[in-house]
Amino acid sequence: MTKPLLELTGISKSFPGVKALQGVEFTLNRGEVLVLVGENGAGKSTLMKILSGIYQRDEGTILVDGEQVEIPGPSAAQALGISIIHQEMNLMPDLTVAQNIFIGREPSVAGIIREGALNKQASELLTSLGINISAKTRVGDLTVAGQQMVEIAKALSYDSRVLIMDEPTSALTDNEVETLFELIESLREKGTGIVYISHRMEELKRLADRVVVLRDGEYIGQLDRDQIDVPTIIEMMVGRQINSEQRPEAKDFSQAETVLKVTGLSTKALLRDVGFELKKGEILGFAGLMGAGRTETARAVIGADSRTSGEIEVHGKRVRISQPADAVRSGIGYLSEDRKGVGLLLDQNVWQNTALASLNEFSVAGMMNDAKAKQVAESYVKDLRTKTPSVNQPVKLLSGGNQQKVVLAKWLVRDTDILIVDEPTRGIDVGAKEEIYRLLERLASEGKSIIVISSELPELLRIADRIVVMASGRITGELTNEDASQNRIMDYATKIAEEGELTL
């Protein structure tokens, strides 16, 4: 047998106040998909960043093809044939898709870039990957999902021997996920070694040749393909058992008060006559494919984007919402899907972010009561099991999933009657996910009303009392949880697409 493609032993890495990795080891063979799992903050991304030259390890050895190597920077990683799809978007928003993918590698003649060839090359790549995005689109104009697809295309364009994917599907809907899996299959056949990080347990079985589990920066163990069993893995990850298969019991909301009523909502870009009602104590799910308009609906409702038409009633009263501050005043909070871009103050710390939507609550006559804000933040850190050395830690230093918990905490503190959560569990580990579901359920049972936008159908089926399905800026269907199934939802979500009305 040939030497393994990649062999890591005794890798350790500390940050101030955090031991991110301690003596971690694993090997990766040619044509193998190795799935790395672990709770938020377990050290998965850190390990991969060491491999791709972004961080330097404190201890340990890295062998590539049996040869010890140093990886001092991203270009060294590229030279070794290692490329990475980052968990957090790392794209240049002002450049086009094609320009992003081939940055620094543009086809040129005498120093002049052949823009046509560049676009053609990118289009071919995107087509071959089944990604339906124009190569000339500015990346900043894409949705998070679109950006994630560009990240994937970019990493694949390097034609690497080792491909690291750090939660590539966290922002994707099932269709894109399917395409990605097909890609992974073909790469495996070509002999590429793949390290795949995910919190989606259902993906493990599909993909994994081997599963490696990390917990608190330590190597816990590994399972081969035939040993893979989700409950076992979860137990290795979190040290206890979790049942995630349950569905909410059917409730009758016909008598409940309508707390939010949206009618005739349209926007210039996409939405056409969107209308729905939300009852007191209800969890309403929004399903749809990438770009269906769920995020845009939420943003239009809270006044983050301008509407061309549409009326909003809260508790039966028409409200005028022209900016998010109006929405919050009317009791509507919105947790955005793009936590890094518009969800967090990255340079500020955990408690400052947690307090951001509730400054009035933490201040008297304009003077802040920081002690109270810290105390509340600490209680949410505990509640949500956010892994952070302290509430004084800048959020940019937290792992992706823990950042998400901070955003969630911000809205939980604000305690609005209506909460719209857009991809609330994006990047959150199974254990914590379950806790968030319970939290949302508890809030609903306390009389709050919640809209959950999610691209994970199991998630919607797990918590939503009712599911609205969108396609191409319209609402195409509505199902109670009882009637809903993944198939029925997909039917609605692709309805208009099949009728060919989607072209805008």
Binding site: G17, Q323, V328, S336, G341, V342, E378, Y380, P389, N392
Partner: protein, 327 residues
């Protein structure tokens, strides 16, 4: 949910911010030592208080600008704006003969108005801060000349006016310096202890995230620029008080010095990070440097060179501190 505990190295942030100011203070102390050795007269109290007084104008401007820069904006109108505010004070208090205290208040109000217009242009008309305030800089310069009739307005009739900067409520310390320190403390409280300060930094950190958190970022932006305008006007009045007159071309070019003081003090032009103490120290570094070079009798042209080099080195030292944490 109430008594959660975290195994946190508490106060680690404070420690860092102390180091930060420590480094700037270090530069300041080094300059002090160096100049004292070069010329013993440097350490006389009359010279020190002269340095402090020379810092007052730029220092006060810089304090206000710190709030603007904290949002990721910039205010180029502070130099000529301070002049216009002084001229307005003169117009009201001298030319129109209103009571002097009212003239001063109206002068400050005109500064607030300039700031308001800046903020409105930035937040609601979406003119980039650089251009909005550059335009205001030009308008203020022109109006200052027009309203003063291109001639100084003298406050000599108003007996207490020169006392604003030169009187000594605390014996030995000119009031202008006192005003700077009082405003600095006020600004420090506002930045670090109030909702205003919190939102100021939040906007600079991520405006959209702040907006989506239910904060009317536009209105706050207008307010922040208006507050900066008030500081600018006070700076103008303090400088005018030193001269007992509003000189219509006084403030030209001071904006870059004030902004430099802010950045030397560790506030980031990208927004989201600001230090009031740093700003004061930054302003002091600039004045001490210039005064020291003058007292050493360094030729004017070499003063430029030396100042440039020292400022670069000071900020470079400061950036070393950040090495570890970022990447």
């Amino acid at each position: 949910m109430s008594e959660a505990k975290t195994a946190a190295p508490k106060g680690s942030l404070n420690w860092k911010s102390w180091i930060q100011q420590g480094l700037a203070v270090g530069t300041l102390v080094l300059l002090f030592i160096f100049f004292s050795i070069m010329n013993p007269n440097f350490m006389q109290w009359s010279n020190i208080s002269g340095i402090l007084l020379a810092t007052a104008g730029i220092g006060i401007m810089a304090l206000g600008t710190t709030f603007v820069i904290a949002t990721g904006g910039i205010d180029l109108s502070i130099g000529t704006g301070s002049t216009l505010a002084a001229v307005m004070t003169g117009v009201f208090a001298v030319n129109m003969g209103l009571p002097a205290w009212l003239g001063v208040l109206l002068g400050i109000a005109s500064g607030a108005l300039m700031g308001f217009i800046n903020g409105f242009n930035v937040a609601f008309l979406r003119i980039p801060p650089f251009i909005a305030t550059l335009a205001m800089m030009m308008v203020a310069q022109g109006l200052g000349l027009v309203l003063s009739g291109v001639a100084p307005i003298y406050f000599t009739e108003i007996s207490w006016f020169s006392g604003i900067a030169l009187g000594e409520l605390i014996p030995g310390l000119p009031n202008g310096v006192l005003i700077m320190f009082v405003l600095a403390i006020l600004a420090w409280v506002v930045l670090s202890r109030t909702k205003f300060g919190r939102i100021d930094l939040a906007i600079g950190s991520n405006e959209e995230a702040t907006r989506l958190s239910g904060i009317s970022t536009k209105r706050w932006t207008v307010l922040i620029y208006s507050v900066a305008g008030v500081f600018t006007a006070i700076a103008g009045i303090v400088m005018a008080s030193r001269l007992s007159s509003a000189q219509p071309q006084m403030g030209v070019g001071l904006e870059l010095q004030a902004i430099a003081a802010v950045i030397i003090g560790g506030t980031s032009l990208m927004g989201g990070r600001a230090s009031i103490i740093g700003t004061v120290i930054g302003a002091l570094i600039m004045s001490v440097l210039i005064n020291g070079l003058r007292i050493m009798g360094v030729q004017s042209e070499w003063q430029f060179v030396a100042s440039g080099v020292v400022i670069a080195i000071a900020v470079w030292f400061d950036s070393l501190r950040n090495r570890g944490s970022s990447t």
